[in-house]
Amino acid sequence: MSNSIGLGEYRVGHPGMDEWTMHGLGSCIGLIIACRKTYISAAAHIVLPMNPSAQEQNSGQPARYGREAVPFLINEMKEKRSAEDLFAIMVGGARMFQFTMVDDIGRRNIEELRGSLHRAGVPIVAEDVGGRKGRTLRWNPTTGMAVVTVVGTEERELTPVSEQFINVVTE
């Protein structure tokens, strides 16, 4: 079974849970943060780099915005005593169309998340970002395996072997 994570949604979970999927990531980014000690992981489907309403410091939808998503997910993991020794995987941020009057939101999403993860001290161990192709990201909270699919290509495993959840005893 697979659990879809829609635009602006998030999950926090542990080994034994069903796989999570973020379908059709274009300029959006699928972000995974995982704890090497407890194997608790979190995921967000990020839409924009930051809340366009500059007056609002807190949008109330933290998983939508890159700037808010990282501290929010880490805080959620902290509540499960899993906020140390983290790593991140990110997928998406493509430029699907060339618009004449707007920025490349995919590139801005990537830059915001890289900065936000760096500030939080969370290393990115794997990423598949940018370019002109849409992607689907699947995350297995039990094995720690991230798999990315692009139209017309074979699916590809992203998580480095050294970061996969080996020897995890599921509930």
Binding site: G6, L7, G8, H23, G24, L25, G26, S27, C28, V47, L48, P52, S53, Q61, R64, A94, M96, F97, Q98, F99, T100, M101, V102, I105, G106, R132, K133, G134, R135, T136, T149, V151, G152
Partner: protein, 184 residues
């Protein structure tokens, strides 16, 4: 000039424009394409992203960005098999991807212009489309990227004029979306 808030008031005119676009498609491929359904609605970004069903199904989008008095985005979306069929009908050959891309772009120009000219003439205003972009990818990736650009904020509803055309056997369906925007 149909700004988003006025879309519902001009529904009959838009239906005329969509019919005009369908007639244009029929003439182009020498096969009758009739409208299946037309919807004029506002949708959340999440609804818009799943407008065509499964988010990771492959589709071909022909996108025109429209400037002038009539500002917005016009997209023609078809299944890859239908894109191949259209290309064969238009140029009789599918062997060159560049030619196929170009033929689909031209189809977007002609069908899109039929829609835009009808609306522009009715309002006595100018609609200036950019050259078409033809993109083959996941429906969700394309629609979410377009939706994020169209919505001022992710909470905004997106005004969508949507219709689909099908041939007699209903073997092929073409979706036409018009996303009107406030002029900048």
């Amino acid at each position: 000039m149909p700004a988003p808030n006025n879309v519902r008031r001009i529904a009959p005119l838009l239906e005329g424009a969509l019919t005009c676009a369908g007639d244009s498609l029929s003439r182009l491929v020498s096969e009758v394409f009739s409208p299946l359904e037309t919807d004029i609605a506002t949708q959340s970004l999440a609804e818009f992203t799943t407008l065509l069903g499964k988010e990771d199904q492959p589709v071909v989008v022909i996108l025109l960005e429209v400037h002038g008095d009539l500002y917005g985005f016009l997209a023609i979306i078809v299944a890859p098999q239908f894109a191949e069929y259209l290309t064969e009908r238009l140029i009789g050959d599918n062997s060159s991807p560049d030619m196929a891309q170009s033929a689909l772009g031209e189809l977007g120009n002609i069908v899109g212009s039929a829609f835009l000219n009808y609306v522009a003439d009715s309002f006595d205003c100018v609609a200036a489309p950019t050259p078409p972009q033809v993109v083959h990818d996941m429906a969700g990736a394309l629609l979410s990227s377009l939706g994020v650009h169209v919505a001022s904020t992710p909470d905004d509803d997106i005004p969508v004029i949507y219709t689909s055309f099908s041939n007699k056997e209903k073997a092929f369906t073409a979706n036409l979306l018009w996303l009107p925007q406030e002029s900048s």
